[in-house]
């Protein structure tokens, strides 16, 4: 089995292949607050180490992707450097980096704009109103950007939100949809099928190729969801050609 677990590594991280030019450092196979802290800190450490031959680093929820140029280095060399970095400390104890930007994003919850709010709230053991209160006051961060351009994975929610994906896909939820599963929220970039539950709707488009800044969000951004009515989302969507749907960004410090 092609995996490498450094002998003295204090965490359970593995170094795995992803294509001929990629090494994936996976801290956990399921999401956890410790893993999200670890990947952010470990990515910063790789960038600081400035490893020769590395062309790109990126983080997902529980892993760091390290892409390298096979003409300039070898997988063995990259793996050795990554293993040495892993041994430096217990990365699972690392804190999330400090917040640099906070986004406030208006969302209409429930009803036609979030047809599965009641179902998701029940799975979390909450009333719909309690669920909205928890989601709009929770300390949320952009943990990863992916699947579709600019699309944020936001979390982690309290453990009661650790609900699996649905066995059957919802055939289509609209762009701007707020969906929930496995302790995370996603704001959809494009209309798509999903196994996650559709609980709200925003006018926010995380990506637009017609915007000066096509990718609105950055990994690590703090997110505050602002509850508004469905009609307000309609107004915000109609009146905001930038596709931000009334969202605004505050830079901290």
């Amino acid at each position: 089995m092609p995996r490498l677990k450094p002998a003295n590594c204090p965490s359970a991280a593995e170094i795995l292949p992803l294509g001929q030019d990629g090494a994936l450092v996976r801290f956990a196979i399921v999401s956890s607050p410790a893993a999200t802290g670890a990947v952010q800190a470990f990515k910063a450490a790789i960038q600081a180490a400035d490893l020769p031959g590395v062309t790109q680093t990126a983080t997902s929820l529980a892993s760091v992707l390290v892409r390298f140029d096979p003409a300039a280095t070898t997988r063995a060399a990259i793996n050795a450097r990554l293993a040495a970095l892993l041994e430096q400390r217990d990365w699972m104890q690392a804190e999330m980096p400090a917040v640099r930007r906070t986004w406030s994003i208006p969302v209409a919850f429930g009803g036609d704009t979030g047809p599965q709010l009641d179902e998701a709230a029940a799975l979390a053991g909450l009333t719909p109103q309690q669920a909205v209160d928890e989601l709009t006051t929770a300390d949320l961060r952009v943990l990863a950007i992916g699947f579709a351009p600019g699309q944020p994975y936001v979390g982690l929610l309290p453990e009661r939100w650790d609900m699996p994906r649905q066995p059957q896909l919802t055939p289509q939820v609209p762009a701007g949809a707020l969906i929930v599963a496995v302790r995370q929220l996603v704001l959809f970039t494009n209309p798509n099928a999903t196994g996650w539950r559709h609980i709200g709707q925003s006018g926010f488009r995380p990506f637009s190729d017609r915007r000066a800044d096509p990718f609105a969000l950055q990994q690590g951004d703090a997110i505050r969801l602002i509850p508004v009515s469905a009609s307000e989302i309609q107004t915000l969507t109609a009146n905001q050609p930038d596709g931000l749907g009334g969202a605004h960004c505050t830079v901290v410090g």
Binding site: M1, P2, R3, L16, P17, L18, G19, Q20, G22, L24, R26, A28, I29, V30, S31, A35, T55, Q56, T57, A58, T59, S60, L61, A62, S63, L65, R67, P70, A71, T74, R75, A144, I145, G146, F147, A148, P149, G150, Q151, Y153, P164, R165, P167, L169, V182, T189, N190, G195, F207, D209, P214, F215, Q219
Partner: protein, 340 residues
Amino acid sequence: MTATLTVVRAGPAMTVQDLGRPGHVDQGLSTGGAADRIALLEATALLAAPRVQPAIEMAGSGGTFTCDAPLRFALTGAPMRATIDSAPIAWNATHRLRPGQELTIGGALAGSYGYLTCAGGIAEQPWLGSLSAHLAAGIGGPLKQGGSLTLGDDPAPDSPAMTLPPADRFSGGDIRLMPGPQSALFDATTTQRFFGTGFTRGAQANRQGVRLDHAGAPFASAMTGGLASDFIVSGDVQMTGDGVPYVLLGECQTIGGYPRIGTVLPQDLPRVAQAPIGATLRFVRISLEQADADIRDEATVLKDLRRAVQPRVRDPHDISDLLSYQLISGVTCGDDLERT
């Protein structure tokens, strides 16, 4: 001189494609680009272009095109029925189109994606360094009837017509698969069965991925449903919730929660993309060491293709205006050489 290519009639899925936008995985944007990247390299070699040019990718069938200035172009990828003013023209070759003539590209004779590449490239405005339509991301879109593209200048308009030997990647076959981060989630029995199965390229396919059908049980893995969404690369073979494999292509999602049994080597991915509906595909397991030792970078592939191009010798049957050529330059008694 700058020319305009007009789309007189558009097939259902024609888009402009180059090598895509690499390096944006941290922003959730997959590379995209031509479904068959080798076809772009073939066109580059045929046209003796200094660098890879964007092409018109034609899924399943092409369209009808005209130009307003003399145009040198290459046809590569899945062979399609092609004519200039109803005279058939060869695939995997370069040709010339004159103003007033009509280039018509019909249905694929084998494979799925054909490519029309103009020698001067396409002089439209790139976005993030590429002209590629990325349909899944909502960047650009299909070419429409009546639309037109501004072409770049042909750096060598007088180059002779060239051809390449036909390629064999248009009917499925063996696909090499290297291990990936989730390979170990599939138990030995399931993995063995996967590599022993002949798959049929399903009808459900687009630039994001190709569904593979097979008779028999689905390919289950441990941990479906609860996996943290993790990085995907094109070539990954993903098992959806119901255990059906999809080979992910250039427009795939960048992260996802379904497990992937392995990654198709990049040089074999055009064979998957080009497999027509119903073609048989089998996966060949290769070790990580073998995969790392067998890297075929595109610069090397292009260098080899440049060496393989040959002048196109035209069959008299293909020359519609044969009688206008001076075929005989002189008549002798036949014994000239004997007479001294």
